[in-house]
Amino acid sequence: MRYKSASSTSTDAYCAGAEIGGSLREILPEVVLLFASISYEQNFAELFEGIRDGLDGRETLIFGGTGDGIYETSQAAHYGVCALGMNSQGKIRWAAASAKGVGADSFSAARACALAALSSAGGAANFAFVLADGAKADGSGIAAGIESVIRVPFFGGLTGDDRKFTRSRILLNGQELEDAVSILVASGELPYSVTAASGWTPIGAPGNIEESESSTIRIIDGMSAQAFMKEQLGKPLGEADLGIVPLAAYSEAGDEYFFLRTPSHMDPETGAITTFGSIDTGTRVRVCTATRKDVLEGVRKSLEDVNDGKFVPAAALIISCAGRKWLLNNTGEEEIAPVLTAFGKKIPLVGFPSFGEISPFRKPDHTYTRTFFHNVTFVICLLGG
């Protein structure tokens, strides 16, 4: 496998695309994973055009989405575009599919998308990377829908915008899609490992969700969700806390493996909160906090868990929740640095600040738990070959 990463912070979409394409042209990529900030939303067509021009017209599967910035080997930025070119020299069969309607029924849309992708891939896949519209999709439904079809560990994230939580785009082969889910599958020899970690710690007293509907939590322990969080935090939930202050939700997998849900919206009238991802009534939850140190500790833990030594990592793909960089109050470079330190400063690395992460946990015995939808989590996938 040949991997190369490139990035551009040019505000001119075409120029940025041309820069990216021109940089990746040397490896003749079969697939380009593309992540861009929403600032190009008026000019994605030109971005695609620039990439195509940069690749000299070469036919390439372009798969990506928007986030609140970019991560790449050479930089992390709030605005820009980054890409990872991959060339298996024909050994891997790549396929991508998309489906609309995640806002109405994320599970069904994700399931349909996964079926279409598998069909395109010849019916089997041993690698799957998923992106869904973070402004519309229920990440839990997405994960569940895909899990109902794809049997290998899969990962991905929800696309986002610049912290406004209003829109995002899936970028697929020249199309910019909303209210959609897309999956990139690969069949063939593609060594990879993936895991997730957050660093957030439950601090509050546990409460039981007594009333919730999809992603909206209304009542916890007899009081409104906002009142419950206020009681545990000691202050009311603020706009600055959206995407950062999560609830730890305990699943049947055991207390060690809790997933997080951060609020994306607050209803001042009812006191309800809407989270990134649905959460069932009856779920036991606790409010969590994290310091900067805790955030980076999450990165360190994920690096510990992901590298099993079975292959030499040749590239890294990072989906890190945008809330983490908001808490770190920077472009995210502090999260990238340990990865580069661990795997080499020149390792092709791309990623984006997402609005939700999809990943299993890697257990100590190197097997995987089932795939969860996470918030404020750092997901890293190492690619080999």
Binding site: T9, S10, T11, D12, Y14, C15, A18, S39, E46, E49, D53, G57, H78, Y79, D162, R163, K164, K230, K235, P236, G238, E239, A240, D241
Partner: protein, 656 residues
């Protein structure tokens, strides 16, 4: 973005070509091409607008070296013949354009960053305002809560500080937060109370009980949460307290919340009530014994009287029999006093001026009380009248006076004081069972040695005495008690060792309009023992009494028949040829008692004469018997002469 001086046309000018597949938008927005005839013409045309140019000037003329980068940037393929001119212009323009482009890019990035920063600022400001508002609301709520708490505390303090019960917390063996009432009751200040372990304020005899129950309660064990005990006030006086205690948590540790009520008066009243009930019981017992004893004395005294009549003059036998008579007289007197105590000796009451009785009796007392005891009187001039037996009233004064004398062996002062009193129901009444109303109060105070609390509790008990054996019968105060109670009154005593004694007697007073009778009734004259020939039926279950009566009457000349029961009497009464002239009927007999026997006899023969004889000297009972048809009443033990006289009176039809 559209630029001025745009010269894009559908087809490039001759010699120029657009690179295949490139964006037309790029040509418009990134660079423009100006077609000019010559370099000079181009420069001339651009002179005024050079500063605004962001494109390249391409002319036909000049050989230039074409740089591929330029092609990419400017999207134009310059044919080789024209490329010769480009080097003179392109580097300058390229650099310039690059600078412009970078500046534009930087400006846009700056705008984006600024917009982001402002959005972050807005978000943080909004959250700051929200948090500040929430904080202010929380502060307001807290202040309101604190104000409400202060009001609540003030109300609580108002209630607790003005409570009639003492309220306090007990923790670690000490009193905490006592309300003012506790100081009022105990005489100790709050500081004094909280400084010492609370057991120090409890009567020594009650400390173990109180401390034990307190400890049990703290450990969660069962303990009575309502009981009484004594505290010692600052003056040393004991007070009875009723406590209600509950276990609480105070400042995170076990404690008790306690309510104390002064029940001293209640306890005292209860003690008085118990004492009165005891006295009633003792009186009932004493009366019963006295009655039976009277019958025995009747037999002894009667036989002695008869034996005395037959004993030779100057003989030793006569002397011995005389001694028997004296002894039985003394025994009768004792029984009489016992009956007085048990109120079976009914007073013969009439309106009295207590002050007059006191003055009269004090003059008698002065003969038996040593001169070193000073007798004083303080008598209310407006004292109301009472309904009393003057003999018994005299006995009260004499007995109390004698006791006071005995309490002042070294001399002292004996005060008799009278006054009117109005007693109202409630805790303030002098004795527990007193009826509210108008009373006359007699106080007898001495400055003698006083009595201990133990003796004080027993002074009215019959035969209780602190004197040596033989120095007193122990019936003096019992008699006083009996007389007072017989008059419907109440007596109480206060005494402390070394502080003298005060008896306080409450006697119901008469309405003020009640006048005293004139003078005293003349005494009844003595007369000889009369006799007769009539037939008399003696009915008594006591053999000796019956036999004695038979002897007495036969000696007087009567024919005497005897029956041992009411049933036996009825048989004889009905079987006798001709009714007996008189029936002497004992009232207290088993089976058909005297009352029923009387009724039966009168039913059979309404005019039958019946003399009721009884050891029960209850005037009401006797009066009732008279009303039931008896002809007369004689109390036992009676003297033979009294019996004979009474029998004769009845037979003669004279009221007895």
């Amino acid at each position: 973005m559209e630029y001025p001086l745009l010269s894009l046309v559908e087809n490039p000018p001759p010699g120029f070509e657009y690179r295949p597949g490139l964006s037309r938008r790029d040509v418009r927005s990134s660079v423009f091409a100006l077609f000019a005839d010559s370099i000079d013409a181009a420069e001339l045309r651009l002179q005024g607008v050079m500063s605004k140019v962001t494109g390249i000037i391409v002319t036909f003329t000049g050989e230039i070296v074409w740089e591929p980068r330029a092609e990419t940037l400017f999207h134009l393929g310059v044919p080789p013949p024209l490329r010769i001119h480009l080097p003179r212009l392109l580097p300058f323009c390229l650099g310039f354009l690059e600078t412009i482009r970078r500046q534009a890019d930087a400006n846009r990035k700056l705008s984006l960053e600024l917009a982001r920063a402002m959005e972050d600022h807005r978000r943080l400001s909004s959250d700051f305002d929200r948090s500040r508002k929430s904080l202010l609301e929380e502060i307001s709520e807290r202040r309101a809560a604190e104000a409400a708490l202060r009001v609540s505390e003030e109300r609580y303090r108002l209630v607790v500080d003005n409570a009639s019960d003492a309220i306090f917390i007990a923790q670690d063996g000490r009193v905490k937060f006592p309300n003012p009432r506790l100081s009022e009751l105990s005489g100790f200040s709050a500081e004094e109370i909280t400084k010492e372990p609370f057991v120090e304020f409890i009567h020594p005899e009650d400390r173990e009980t109180v401390a034990g129950r307190y400890a049990k309660r703290l450990q969660g064990e069962e303990a009575p949460n309502r009981y009484t005990f004594r505290i010692l006030t600052k003056s040393g006086a004991p007070l009875w307290m009723e406590i209600g205690a509950v276990l609480i948590a105070w400042e995170g540790r076990p404690a008790t919340l306690n309510f104390l009520r002064d029940v001293t008066q209640q306890v005292n009243l209860e003690a008085q009530l118990l004492h009165a009930q005891k006295m009633e019981a003792v009186g009932t017992l004493a009366g019963g014994i006295a009655h039976d004893f009277n019958n025995l004395l009747q037999a002894i005294s009667g036989c002695a009287a008869l034996a005395l009549q037959e004993a030779p003059e100057e003989s030793r036998t006569r002397s011995l029999i005389g001694n028997i008579g004296k002894a039985t007289d003394r025994a009768s007197e004792l029984v009489k006093r016992l009956l007085t105590f048990s109120r079976w000796e009914r007073p013969e009451k009439r309106p009295l001026d207590l002050n007059r009785e006191i003055s009269h009796t004090v003059s008698l007392l002065e003969r038996i009380i040593p001169k070193m005891v000073r007798i004083e009187t303080r008598l209310d001039k407006d004292l109301r009248r009472i309904d009393g037996d003057p003999t018994q009233i005299e006995q009260i004064i004499m007995n109390l006076g004698a006791n006071a004398r005995d309490a002042m062996p070294e001399g002292g002062c004996l005060l008799f004081e009278t006054g009117n009193a109005t007693v109202t129901a409630g805790i303030g009444q002098p004795c527990a069972e007193m009826d509210p109303g108008e009373y006359v109060v007699l106080r007898v105070k001495d400055s003698g040695v006083g009595m201990s609390p133990e003796n004080l509790n027993r002074i009215f008990d019959p035969f209780f005495t602190t004197k040596e054996v033989g120095a007193g019968t122990g019936l003096g105060l019992s008699t006083v008690y009996g007389i007072v109670r017989g008059h419907g009154g109440w007596i109480r005593c206060e005494s402390r060792p070394g502080n003298g004694t005060c008896f306080e007697i409450f006697l119901p007073s008469l309405p003020s309009s009640h006048a005293l009778p004139d003078g005293n009734d003349p005494p009844f004259p003595e007369s000889d023992i009369p006799g007769g020939k009539e037939t008399i039926l003696v009915v008594d279950d006591e053999d000796m009494v019956r036999d004695l009566a038979k002897i007495i009457l036969e000696v007087s000349g009567y024919t005497v028949l005897c029956a041992r029961s009411g049933e036996n009497a009825m048989e004889m009464f009905l079987a006798e040829d001709g009714e007996p002239d008189l029936v002497i009927l004992d009232l207290g007999m088993p089976g058909m008692g005297g009352r029923k026997c009387l009724a039966e006899m009168r039913k059979r023969k309404p005019g039958v004469k019946v003399l009721v004889a009884s050891g029960y000297s209850e005037e009401r009972q006797a009066a009732g018997i008279i009303e039931a048809g008896a002809s007369g009443f004689i109390g036992k033990p009676y003297k033979p002469s009294d019996l004979a006289r009474t029998v004769r009176s009845i037979l003669d039809g004279v009221p007895a």
